[in-house]
Amino acid sequence: MADAHELSRRDFLRRAAGASAVALAGVGLAAALLDKNGPPASEAGSSAKGLGDFALPELKGRPGRMAVVRADPKAGAPDRRAMLERALEAVGGLGAYVKPGDRVLLKVNAAFATSPNLGATTHPDLVAAMAALCAKAGAAQVAVTDNPIHSPESCFALTGIADAAAKAGAKLLLPREELFTPVNAPGGRLLRDWPTLSGAFRGVSKLIVLSPVKDHHRAGASMTLKNFYGFLGGRRNVFHQDINGVIAELAVLTRPTLCVMDGVTVMLTNGPTGGSFADLKAMNVLAVSTDPVAADAFGMELLGRRAADAPYIAMAQAAGAGGADYKALNPSFLDLGA
């Protein structure tokens, strides 16, 4: 049976041309709207903002604050909480930095799945002390985070940080994939559209960095600024080829409210992993600073080195992240128990 609506050759060509014209118009429109630069970074990680500036507004353009507390080893094992409280008191009290309702992010170094007494990670006693003090100051939330790359759960568990956070009522933020967005470091040459732990900063109003003081095979030293490396995701080991450059860029990625450097036990050799107690030395020192560059410059002295031995310190200063002359902050040097 013949089809009553059989298409003539002319109709077919006319309809095909019409359909093609519609498709052509669509493609043409898409081409016209094409953004050759691709989508911008997300709001949380725009190049303009980095990860955010959490420094106290009243300290902008002014010298930071710093205090160093030394515990007497003859008085027994150093009490990190007592040392921290003393140091905080000397820089105006934690209440000057953490206000009721603040949401505080504690950036720890949980890079390795090792016991805390190997000194390769932030000591859990310090995490517990700072989390508890923030809660006491009225913080609405205290979260603890780091991106150890390999097996984060094991790292947080074996370092004792997960337990310490839980006992102090702090929330543990493991580096889930959805917490990473591409971020540019302001003026950065290396950190461009790099996946960064920006999701951990959602709603955060204060950032406190808790770092051990360690030798580092590649960077020379791992303290506050190197601790920022834990904000990076991806195959970040590519930056080891320019470790000083990337740390200097990390230094301007965010500005912390406070930096706490734990020099109670310092890893003098074979860092950043150490492994032997022979790599460690009891220095019984804890420092608090609003300036991460100054904190690291002081940390170099604990390692028995000059600030110039870690080139990223001068580079971070040049990038405007702080000052390497920590003495310009007129730090308070205190003896616990004195």
């Binding site: 493609v27 989508p39 097996s151 759960e153 195959r235 080891h240």
Partner: protein, 355 residues
């Protein structure tokens, strides 16, 4: 014809768009290698514990982690060491390749990579109250293993009887066997017997160290191991080291054995492929020194053919003997440098390296 023309135009536009967008958005590219989501990393076994496998997206790293070499050495970390109370494994071994080593040990990875690293396996154990972690590094050669071992030697470590190059500290044991470097680390100081028990169990599965070059044992060739050529008088215990790359900070100066002496000088020795290469390395180091402020001095009293260079408070002497580059580094004064150089030269000649 009209429709064909329209289709051709469409193809041209599509080709134009593809050409304009041929560079992938870097944000998308790097986001594909973001860390694995929580929960995935710890889920059983070395393969899934890859961590930076990034939720299965970083297949390249995952494949790199599972190299045959890496899988092979994972089997060398036993489930348990023999004996009651001996270490028992807590989880399967994890393995790492050159591409993924830094995921586990961060910046320390470069030390191994520079020395000649091929694979690493690690495993956690429990022995009584102690947690013990074993790290087995497979290097490219016995010399590479010695470089990793000697580069991290802890002052005050004692010799363990388990191997010729085996150092025991308060809580850790470090040793080499052939081209394998083993670290066994406890989280407390009272676990030495367990460390040695576990190390013995691992050693039992390793290839015998016989025939290895370098300080671990007899040379694979007829050569005398380099450390045997350093004069014994005044040699500091356990001070012989091997810098595989960039010795003394000089880029390109490679495979350099060093030995420290009580007099404050450091003797160095590098055995090269042939005499021409030895001379080229000597020239490289000579240039490095002069570029960094050292001045060439009169070589009177130095070994034949040697160059003497000095900068305030530091004297360097370098010379070649056949395919060996040798010398004295950073001696406190000229006399000390000349004495040390003479002793080293005599040792080389006795070892037949003047040829």
């Amino acid at each position: 014809m009209a429709s064909l023309a329209v289709l051709a135009a469409l193809c041209l536009i599509a080709a134009g768009i593809l050409a304009a967008r041929r560079q992938p958005n870097p944000a998308v590219a790097v986001a594909l290698s973001a860390p694995a989501p929580a929960g995935q990393a710890a889920a059983g076994g070395p393969a899934s514990a890859a961590g930076t496998g990034a939720a299965g997206k970083d297949a390249q790293a995952e494949a790199a982690r599972k190299t045959p070499e890496a899988s092979g050495i994972a089997a060398l970390l036993p489930d348990a060491a023999p004996g009651t109370g001996a270490p028992r494994a807590l989880a399967p071994a994890e393995t790492f390749s050159p591409a993924t080593l830094s995921d586990k040990i961060d910046g320390k990875a470069e030390l191994y990579l520079a020395a000649g690293f091929t694979a690493m396996a690690c495993r956690g154990y429990r022995a009584g109250n102690a947690r013990i972690d074993a790290y087995l590094y497979r290097m490219k050669s016995p010399d590479a293993a010695f470089a990793a071992f000697s580069g991290q030697r802890r002052p005050g470590a004692t010799q363990s009887p388990l191997a010729k190059n085996a150092a025991l500290t308060e809580n850790a044991l470090f040793l080499i066997s052939g081209r394998d470097y083993l670290e066994v680390i406890a989280d407390r100081a009272d676990a030495k017997p367990a460390l040695e028990t576990l190390a013995r169990a691992v050693l039992a599965g390793l290839a015998p160290a016989k025939g290895t070059a370098g300080p671990a044992g007899a040379s694979a060739t007829a050569d005398i191991p380099p450390q045997e050529l350093f004069p014994k008088a005044g040699l500091k215990a356990d001070s012989v080291r091997l810098a595989v790359a960039d010795a003394f900070g000089c880029q390109g100066l490679t495979n350099m054995y060093t030995a420290e002496y009580e007099a404050g000088a450091t003797a160095f020795l590098s055995r090269r492929k042939d005499a021409a290469e030895a001379r080229a390395q000597a020239a490289l180091y000579h240039k490095f020194l002069t570029d960094n402020g050292y001045a060439v001095q009169d070589a009177a009293g130095a070994p034949a053919g040697a160059a003497v260079l000095a900068m305030e408070g530091s004297v360097e002497i370098l010379f070649t003997r056949g395919r060996a580059l040798a010398g004295i580094h950073d001696a406190p004064d000229r006399d000390a440098a000349l004495r040390a150089a003479a002793a080293l030269d005599a040792g080389l000649r006795a070892g037949g390296l003047e040829k």
